[in-house]
Every structure is written in C-alpha cells, then in structure tokens.
C-alpha cells in the first residue's frame, strides 16, 4: 500500500516548526537489531502504527479542526502492551496496528501517554494475533561509540527497515514533542527517518532506546529516548496513572563571581550554586529563598555551575530529580547568610508550567459571549494567535515565575471580536487579557463564563482588560439577541466549552 497519508514524522515536522523553531524534528522511526538467530523473532514484535488524527484549531475553537493521519512504529514489551512515542498517537481518533508481513489492521487504544517524555503505551482490542511473540527487554544506556540497530517502519517502503550506527553522544536536551521538557537523550548516527518514531533501538538483543527525533539541518543525527527515561515512565504508570515528572521548582545562577561568593559567605572551593528564584507554591517554596547557596543534593556535591557527578559523568543537579517520583524526597544542603542548613524536600509535579507545553488531543476551551470569544492562554493559543501586545507577552512569560497562577488559574484572553453591529467598535480589545468582569477579578475561564452568563446581570456588563483604561461595555438587554444573531451567522454551534471534568480541574 503506497499510502498518500503524510507520515507521522512529516506531520509533526509541519506542525512543529511554528513553536519549535525547526531545530529538531520528530521522527517516526525504528530499528532493531538482533543477532541473526533472534532477528526474525524480534522483528515480529515490532509493529507498524497507523493513526488517523484530528488537530483542533485554536483560532476557531468551536470547529472540528483538521483531519489527517500518520504512521509510526512501536514494539511489544509485555502481554498486550506496546511501547511507542507519545507524538505517534497524539491527537489520534483511530489507531490501527499492523504486524510484520500481515495485512490485518488491529484496532488499538492508548493505555497511558506521557507527553512530557514523549512515550505512550498501547493495547489492542484483540491481542490474539500477537500471542506468543517475544517481549523486548530493556538494557542500559549504551556506551559511546558502541553499535546499535534501529528497527521500524520509516518512509521509503512498507516493509520493516533496519539501520545500524554507533552512539555518538549522550546528552541532556529538549524533547521537541512538548517543547518545554528536557531529559537524557542518546544521539546515534544510524539513519532514522520519519516513520521510525516509536521503534526500538537495540544492542545485544536488548532495547537501549526508542527512536524519536532528529535534526533538520544535520545528517546522521538521530535521537533516541534511553532506558532510564523509559523505565521511569513504566514505573510511574505501575499505579495505573501517569503522574508526570517532578521538579525542584527553583532556578540557579552560577557562582563564578568572587564578590558574589563573598557576599553569600561561600568558601572559595568551587562548591555551591546560588538559588536565583524559588517557584511560588513549588516544592521548595517556604524552604529555600532566593540568595541561598545549594551545596549538595542527596549527598552529591554541587559545583559553582550547578553540576554534580553521576556515574562518572558531569550532569546538572536536576538529574537527581529526573529519576524520582511525586512524593519522593530529596535532601538538600545549603548555605543561608553563611550558616549551613539542611532540608528534605518532598517532590511534586507542577501543573501550572504546562501552560508552556504543547497540548495534544484536547478540545480547546472557550466562551462565546455577544460576539466576543474568550480563551485561556497557553502555548497552543499563543502560537495560533501570535499575540503582539507586550502586556500579554509579559503575563505569559512571567505566569509561573511571578506566581500569577495563584490568582489566575487561567489567563483569560479576548481572542476574537466577531463582526456585528454591536461589536463594530470593540476590535481594539482583541488580544488583551481580561482582568475583571463586573468588578470581579477573573480566576479562570469557568469563572469568566459564570460571571458573564449568570442571572441578574446589571444593565451594563463591564469587562476590564489589563493595561487598557476604558472598559468594554455590553448592555445586558442586547446579549441574547446578539448571541443568537452572531452564532447563527458565524456557525458557532455552541456558546462555550469549559473542558472535560479532569482537564477542567487542573
């Protein structure tokens, strides 16, 4: 079958540059390797995944968005459990799995998806066709210069593909799928291409990674998700739920300056990094303060640049937290006003920073009111509308850092003013952040909806925007007729969507 469907990698390649700057692209890839005897058996456990997608349009949140599809790879790791990349199955409406050399398409569903580390677990509605096939096992992080094989269903044919290469770099870098998360990656020089995504990379018969992204401007650089990240994902979901990565919620500033070291009372021994900021409500809030000096984490000394040694490699101190889970603790030793102190920090995930992470498969939330469209600010909205107002840009940029989320779970933006006789002179408000409705500060989109649509409205509904002196005024007597008129003309079939219960609750 020579499918005209764009390959999954291609799809993301097209959709990602807007937010990712095009440096890195996601691949659909795989490879496998196996000693000759086991090779055939391993190939049987690598699957081709065909996905039909629906990508919502944040500019017209009431519409269905764009329908499309793509192809990726995956592999069997347990009874009716297939591992692949989150980006392979993101926005999926239908997932079909094909076995090597077979024509049957088996419907599959997502058991768990982790957008922050680009991994997902699938199961088949009927797994009988895969019974008796070997489960691929996981190995360790492969050594530099050691050989690996990538197996999967990339572009260039319908049959399984195997490529071979060596490990060329082990690094901590950004995962393009969510845009904001960085974890350990292994770079290999085997050719991995769109379609390889989700496929296994093997060494000595064991999986050492999942092929997931490449570099647009460079040849022979493929990135794989190494096993520490995969194992963390599999451990996280053991309780039946994916809880995401946890974070210390601090930023550091290197202590290279002698005057700064002396001001903070730090010895001149190369140890210690300054705490520059502490995330409000984060795990370290109330424990650490800006200006503290971190000396060690879980007993490992921290240098002036914020690095520690792990397994003989120099890594940033956050690598310790990378491998932990919500509820775990981490021991910090720090200096405050020249005096040493210690604290045990209980780690937790921090949902508000997901405003900066690309969202998948979520119908956009919005409220329509008398020709005005209100939407919560996040990266999807930001890239759809390309806001230019410095106020919106500043609120977005400082949302987490300045603790804006404490008063505003959502930053509600007036994104559109639909043309109508009532709204002709209101377009200047487009792209502004709502502060107050009828004198009440808006906490989130549901709150805005409640304030706009509750019974007993005053004669004039007044909406105040951040940094704009004059309010937007809607006479309540005109709301009903305006809603009816504009919704029918503009094919807006429902006036709001406030989210699924679980996504609304976060």
């Amino acid at each position: 079958m020579n499918s005209p469907l764009p390959l999954l990698g291609g799809v993301l390649l097209l959709s990602l540059p807007a937010v990712w700057g095009g440096e890195s692209e996601i691949l659909a890839t795989p490879p496998a390797s196996a000693p000759t005897t086991a090779a055939g058996a391993i190939y049987e456990s690598v699957i081709r995944i065909e996905v039909a997608t629906q990508v919502f349009d944040y500019r017209t949140p009431w519409n269905s968005g764009r329908f499309g599809g793509g192809i990726g790879s995956g592999f069997l790791i347990g009874p009716n459990r297939f591992l692949t990349n989150a980006h392979v199955i993101s926005n999926a409406r239908r997932i079909l799995v094909t076995k090597r050399g077979a024509a049957d398409k088996h419907p599959a569903r997502v058991v768990h998806v982790a957008h922050d580390c680009d991994l997902a677990l699938l199961e088949l509605e009927d797994a009988s066709a895969f019974e008796g096939l070997p489960f691929l096992e996981f190995g360790e992080v492969p050594a530099l210069e050691s050989q690996v094989r990538a197996i999967g269903y990339p572009v260039g044919g319908d049959r399984i593909s195997v490529t071979r290469g060596v490990v060329s770099r082990i690094d901590f870098r950004a995962y393009a799928h969510s845009r904001i998360d960085s974890h350990l990656v292994v770079q290999i020089d085997a050719a991995i291409n769109p379609g390889n995504s989700g496929g296994p990379v093997l060494q000595g018969g064991k999986v050492v990674g999942v092929a997931f992204q490449g570099l647009r401007q460079a040849d022979n650089t493929g990135y794989i998700i190494p096993t520490p990240v995969i194992k963390r994902f599999l451990k996280d979901i053991e309780d039946g739920r994916y809880d995401r990565y946890v974070d210390l919620g601090i930023s550091e500033f290197p202590l290279f300056n002698p005057a700064m070291r002396s001001a903070l009372g730090v010895a001149d021994d190369g140890r210690g990094v300054m705490v520059a900021s502490v995330l409000p409500t984060g795990p370290c809030d109330g424990v650490l303060e800006s200006g503290d000096v971190l000396l060690s984490i879980d007993g490992r000394p921290i240098d002036n640049a914020g690095n520690i040694m792990v397994d003989g490699e120099k890594v940033i101190l956050h690598e310790i937290v990378e491998r932990k889970f919500a509820g775990d603790t981490v021991r910090l030793e720090y200096l405050r006003n020249g005096a040493k102190a210690e604290a045990a920090i209980t780690l937790k995930s921090f949902p508000y920073s997901r405003i900066f992470a690309i969202r998948y498969g979520e119908r956009p939330r919005y409220v329509f009111f008398a020709g005005l469209v209100f939407q919560p600010l996040d990266i999807n909205l930001y890239s759809a509308f390309k806001f230019t107002s410095p106020r919106v840009r500043k609120i977005y940029q400082n949302y987490v850092k300045d603790g804006i989320f404490k008063a505003r779970k959502d930053v509600v933006v007036l994104t559109r003013v639909e043309s109508d006789r009532l709204t002709t002179h209101m377009t200047e408000f487009e792209g502004s952040v709502v502060d107050e409705i009828n004198g009440t500060r808006v906490r989130d989109l549901a709150h805005a909806h409640e304030l706009l649509y509750s019974a007993g409205q005053p004669e004039f509904i007044t909406i105040r925007f951040n940094g704009i002196s004059r309010p937007l005024v809607i006479p309540s007597a005109e709301v009903e007729a305006a809603n009816e008129r504009i919704m029918s003309k503009n094919s807006i079939f429902r006036p709001f969507f406030l989210g699924q219960p679980e996504s609304a609750s976060r």
């Binding site: 930023s251 500033f253 290197p254 202590l255 290279f256 300056n257 002698p258 005057a259 700064m260 002396s262 001001a263 300054m274 520059a276 900021s277 800006s290 200006g291 230019t388 410095p390 106020r391 840009r393 500043k394 940029q397 009532l422 002709t424 002179h425 209101m426 004039f460 007044t462 940094g467 002196s469 004059r470 309010p471 937007l472 005024v473 809607i474 006479p475 005109e478």
Partner: protein, 486 residues
C-alpha cells in the same frame, strides 16, 4: 500641457517677478550629524552628511526642518550656486514640530548673505490654492514647481507621536540636489517647509504657516519655550454601548481621557482619567476627535492645543464627569518630560560604568537600535516599561537600567546579564543616573549590591576591584566613566 499656461498665469499675476525672484532667499544647508552609540554611549557613531535647503528670513535667520539640524556637529550655509559658504549655528530648534532656525556664526554684514534677498512669511492658504515648491539644480538654477493644496491634516514628521498641522500638496517633483528639505512659497512669500515627498502619489507634506509663525513668535524673546501640551492620553468614544455606559448623548462627541500625566497642565486643572472631554474653548470635539476649523474644516482636536496656542495661555475645557458637565481652566505649559523620553536629540545619553557594568537611562532611542521590528525584538521588560510607564514612575525620574556587561575581572559570571531594570543599589532607590552615582559612592558591608528585575535579581561587585577595573577601562580608551545628564 497644462504646465506652461500655469507658469504664464503665475508670471502675469505676480508684480514683475524676475527669474532671480524664483530663488529669493534660497540657500543650501549642509550639516554633519553625529549621534551617540547605543551600546557604548560614551562614543559617537560615524558622522553622516545631510544636504538640504533653507530660506533666509528677515534678520538674517534661516528656517529649515528640525531634522536637518538635530544632532549636528557642524552646519555650513552655502549659496545656491555653491560658490560661497559660511558656518552656521542653531538659534532655536523644535524637534516635535520639526523646525529649526539657523543663523550664520559670524556677522553676515557685507557677505553673500546680503545679496540673496529675504523671504517674508506668508499667512495660511485654503485647500485648492496653488503653491510654489522651490528646488535647486546642481548648477544653482532654481526649479519652481507649482502644486495644489489637497488637504490639511495633523501629521508627525520627526519625533514619533507629535502631530502638527500640515498641508498635503499634490505636485510632481523631480529629484534635485540638496532637496532634503525644501521651502514652499506663495506669492513670493514663505508658506511652509516641505518635509517629505511620496513619488508614487506625488503628495508632499508641508509644515503649515501657522506652525512656522508660532515657532518664530516663540523665538522672538530669545527664549524658546516650545509648543504646549495638555498631558493626556485619550480614547475615541465611537462605541455606542460605551457611550451609553458613560451617559453620553448618542449623537454628540467627546474624548474619553484614558490617562492624565502627573504634573501636567491637565492634572493641575483637575482633569481625571475617566472624564470625557467635550470641548476645548468653544470648539466641540466629535466622537472621532475632530472639531470644525473655520478655514480648514474638520481637524484633529490636538491642533487646538498644539499650534493654536502658546505656553502660558489659559484655556477652558468642557468635560463630562459622573453625568454632569463642568468647565475646567487649564493653564497651558510644556509637557513634563516622561519617564522614558521620546527622543534624546542633541543630548548625550547619560551613562555610568562600574567595574564593567554599563548603566543607561532608558529612552525611546534605545529601542530603535533593535531595528525596524523593535516592537517584537526589544527586551520585553523594557517594552513593558515603555508601554506602561505608570507602573514604573514611583520613585523614579528616569528609568535606569543595566544595558550590558563588559567582561572584566569584576564581572566574571555576569557576562550574559543585559537590559535589566535597576530598582536599588546599595540599599538606595535609583531615581536617575545621578542618584545611581551617589549610591555607588556608599558601598554597604564592603560590597556594591545591585538589584535587577530578573535572574539572578542581585549582583555584587567588589568596590576595590571594580574601581581598579574602572581605572583600566579609562586606560583602555573610555573617555569617562560617567555622564550624569540633566
């Protein structure tokens, strides 16, 4: 086909004009312009040359645009034929209205300036009237182009955001030497100064005679005040629900006052944010901001303040507040300079260097160094201050910021810090460059402590090391470690 007849009519209509009269009072002005380097404010950018025209007025004064003379390090007056030159000086300059009055540096008596004639200043004309635009050929011959006043509008020609009365004249101009600014005349008298020409539409913008007269009148007493300003920001009241909410009549006008600058004429007369300005004097303002001018018809309201009146005049404002109408008496004055000045022409930017940290006072000029797309490319914290100065005004006369870090032994680890707004140094509020310099004279606990608005929020300097580094920077070619400004 039409041109010859027009020219004939003109010749016939004028009291015996000779060809020489076509260029009476016309001379060339050559200026050398140098502005300060944005990144290294202690030094000047490379010089640029500007060649334009000027008109000699009675009293051996020469009028041209402000843009011709702003930031000039040398001005040369040159006869039309290019044979004579003499150095010039600036008597008065208005950057906002884009006008400058020049004079020869030494006594012009008995020089070539005595021989070129003078131009009287003409009064205003009506739309539809014909005017003459004067240019010079390279050889010194005059080119006289006739154009028609198409419309009258308020436009901003030099400092952004300052709008003044201007004529839009339709005429087909040719490019000629020194045509950067060009006098426009009617009946042999100076009518205006041409500031720009759009060759596609063949429309040129001409500073109107009212503005030139007000400028010259202001200069008379030897002290140039400049045009007054109310000190408000306003929003149109076109939106019907907004008008209803304000309690305004559906069919009348009014401007919603969105901001009253502190210490301004508006603030002093009691005008408040949320008031609606209905009339200035006896001129009513419509909902789009226009009033009816007796000569020109609908003009934007700001001409009632800037261009029609002088500093010191009082003016009655009719406003709508809380459902009532009332009158306020405003004494017109110059606008207080805002926290972030709109321009720094002819003012060397204040700066201070400490141990390699470079501090500056923020001005609009700084943003323009980020290129055409500066609204997108300039640092967000500085842009926010530019757009919302009211959030930064408390305790500040100017916005002092750390523009960059010169790598030195004192600034190790700080190299990547740039464009950070300063709030405090050594525990003292920084209200301008002079107070920053004062704060640096008093280190606390043997250290300089500098509070900035982003990570790492605080920087420390060793006073002895930074003084040592400062000495080295002077040796390395910095002319001075500070320029504290006005």
């Amino acid at each position: 086909m039409k041109l010859p007849s027009l020219a004939l009519a003109l010749l016939a209509g004028l009291p015996g004009p000779s060809p020489a009269d076509d260029a009476r009072g016309l001379l060339r002005i050559n200026t050398t312009i140098q502005t300060f380097d944005t990144a290294q404010p202690w030094e000047l950018d490379p010089p640029r040359q500007r060649r334009g025209l000027g008109a000699l007025l009675p009293g051996k004064r020469i009028i041209t645009t402000g843009e011709m003379a702003a930031n000039s390090t040398y001005i040369e007056l040159e006869s039309a034929d290019g044979i004579h030159t003499t150095p010039g000086k600036v008597l008065a300059i208005d950057y906002e209205a884009n006008l400058a009055l020049l004079a020869p540096e030494s006594d012009p008596a008995g020089t070539w300036l005595d021989t070129i004639g003078e131009l009287e200043v003409n009064g205003p004309v009506n739309t539809g009237d014909e005017v003459q635009i004067w240019q010079l050929e390279e050889n010194g011959d005059a080119i006289n182009t006739t154009g028609t006043v198409r419309s009258v509008d308020l436009i901003s020609t030099f400092v952004p955001g300052h709008y003044f009365l201007a004529y839009e004249v339709k005429a087909s101009l040719q490019s000629a030497s020194s045509s950067y600014t060009v006098p426009v005349t009617r009946e042999g008298k100076l009518l205006g100064v041409l500031t720009s020409y759009d060759s596609k539409d063949q429309i040129s913008d001409i500073i109107a005679p009212e503005i030139i007269s007000a400028f010259l009148e202001d200069v008379e007493d030897g002290v140039y005040n400049g045009f007054p300003s109310l000190g408000i920001a306003s929003i149109l009241t076109e939106d019907p629900p907004f008008r209803q909410w304000l309690g305004l009549d559906a069919y009348e006008g009014g401007l919603y006052i969105s901001r009253v600058l502190p210490e301004s004429a508006a603030a002093k007369c009691g005008l408040k944010e949320g008031d609606v300005l209905l009339a200035v004097g006896d001129q009513f303002i419509d909902r789009r901001g226009y009033y009816v001018h007796p000569r020109y018809g609908r003009l934007f309201w700001s001409h009632l303040i800037r261009g029609s009146r002088m500093v010191g005049e009082t003016l009655s404002l009719l406003i709508h507040r809380d459902g009532d109408e009332r009158r306020l008496e405003a004494a017109l004055e110059r606008a207080v300079e805002p926290l972030i000045p709109a321009h720094m022409h002819d003012r060397p930017p204040p700066y201070l260097v400490k141990g390699g940290l470079v501090f500056q006072e923020l001005s609009r000029q700084y943003f323009e160094a980020f290129g055409k797309e500066w609204q997108q490319r300039a640092p967000l914290n500085l842009l926010d201050a530019l757009h919302n100065p009211e959030d930064y005004e408390e305790g500040r006369r100017r916005l002092v910021f750390l523009s960059r870090v010169i790598p030195t032994p004192a600034t190790i680890g700080y190299d990547d810090v740039s464009n950070q707004i300063i709030s405090e140094v050594n525990g003292r509020k920084v209200e301008d460059m002079a107070s920053l310099a004062a704060a640096f004279r008093q280190p606390v606990d043997g250290l300089h402590t500098i509070r900035i608005d982003d990570v790492p929020y605080v920087l420390y300097l060793d006073p002895r090391l930074s003084d040592f580094v400062d000495g080295k920077l002077l040796e390395a070619g910095l002319p001075s470690l500070q320029r504290l400004g006005d």
